[in-house]
């Protein structure tokens, strides 16, 4: 299966995501530095993203993810934890679009010494 486009609002770069991958795995593998304080095991809500388009193609959130999201800031119906949101099938229009909450956006400057 080919990869879907992973579009990040406010970021011009072209990211992709494969079926079976989480948004966090796809992001980190391609240099999109999403904060994930717990290491991506659904034990915090730092990797909170909003899925603006294509969310129905992601695995449904489980109880533990919903509990974590419940305590996150500025949560909406489209909120997911990037570490748990796994792509199940190719979206009809080939795109998953996400927005990263402003306080979690870190310009990728690591190693900028």
């Amino acid at each position: 299966m080919t990869r879907a486009r992973l579009s990040v609002r406010g970021d011009d770069r072209a990211f992709t995501i494969a079926a079976g991958e989480t948004i966090l795995q796809a992001a980190m593998a391609q240099g999109l530095d999403l904060d994930h304080a717990c290491g991506g095991v659904c034990a915090c809500s730092t990797c909170h993203v909003k899925v603006l388009r294509g969310g129905e193609n992601l695995a449904e959130p489980g109880e533990d993810e919903l509990d974590q999201l419940d305590e996150a800031r500025d949560v909406g119906l489209e909120s997911r934890l990037a570490c748990q949101a796994r792509l199940l099938r190719m979206p009809a229009d080939g795109t998953i679009e996400i927005a990263v909450p402003s306080w979690n956006v870190n310009a990728v400057r690591e190693g900028g010494h």
């Binding site: 994930h36 304080a37 290491g39 915090c44 305590e71 400057r109």
Partner: protein
Amino acid sequence: MQQPDPRAWRVAVVGSGPSAFYTAEALFKSGQAASVDLYDRLPVPFGLVCFGVAPDHQNIKAVTRVYDRIAGNPGFRFFGNVTIGRDLQVADLQACYHQIVFAFGCESGQPLGVPGDDLRGVHSATEFVGWYNGHPDHAQRSYDLQHATRAVVVGNGNVAIDVARILLADPDELAKTDIAEHALAALRESRVREVVLLGRRGPAQAAFSPKEIEEIAALPGVDVLVEPAEAALDPLSAAWLAKDAPRSAQRNVKFLQERAAAGPTGRSKRLRCRFLLAPASLCGEAGRLRAVRAQRMELAADADGTPRPKPRDQFEELPADLVFAAIGYRGVPLPGVPFEPKKGIVPNQDGRVLDRPGGAVLRGLYAAGWCKRGPTGLIGTNSACAKATVELMKQDHAAGALLAPVRADAAELLRARGVDAVGWADWQRLDAWQLAEGQRLGKVRHKPASADALLRTIHELRAARP
């Protein structure tokens, strides 16, 4: 060990647990060249991730992969086995760095503070957790598990659940984890069959995470029992649960009420969740614990409507061979650092350290994590907390409100004083060795449980490096 860039923004962080690493991460992501040195009095990093998170929760301990990545930044250094207040004074750090962040957490447990809490058989959960995790401070402790059948764990948070689960778990399963060998040996001899979890408040106010309590119910051979009368909600809690309660509280109540309805299924071990009971005193015989005298509580709304426990004139005696107080951590003061004894934290204003509670800001000194806000939240909570502190550090850095370091490098000072500091490369070698030893022994990791043994291994690995 590489030299720090003398032009860089130099920061010392006292501590190397989650809040210390998240502080380093936020500094590295600040957009300015920063060099960040983490200090720990133990020879190994990661604080409570190594010595607090339960050994059978390896998925949570895997957060160290995030910290490894942070440590890979060229501006990062680790100085383990360095005690601030002994090997280096805060004044020494002030002479070497532009800013200092205290991120040393809350190291001790809150005592029960009731008559009889000095009886044999009464323990702090904090110390017990350190003991089974191989913390060098607690390796020498002993717990009389082989003469105990019933333990009472006071508290309703995730630490209380950890203690209960370790006491009830199958030792053969624990053997595969990185549990300390001395703890595994004692747990194999344990005759504890029932753990009573004692909560002052009701099921709706339980602070543990739903998946933690559900995990105990999933242990083989363990029943989770709840008294139907205690599972029923008072009108105040019921109204709160229907309106403002977080999802986790709703899930806890649902689970506990289901357990109350189900009753015992005759399994050989039991977790008995008791609510609205607080220890009033501990009863002993010949200096040894015999029972917990618990006082019945009821919930009443305080001024802002929050349900608070109010004692009633009704008591119940719960036989117990062991008691573990799991009612919270408590900060320990660090020499040369202001301390707020009432809260057990470093007095601060949003992370800027104050000379005393409500006092003046001390230039260049900051706090992050538990010693800033008290011992609450999960590991990830410290990420937001550290970011907030680093925001202030950036503002002060931009404004030039910094310390004026006169020395180039603290590493030289440590060498001159003959301090046996452990660096990050030392830790990486030890880490690889611990994993390899673990594999040889059929477990995920082997942790020598004394500082001497750790240092000896570090020295051997350092001498043997290619």
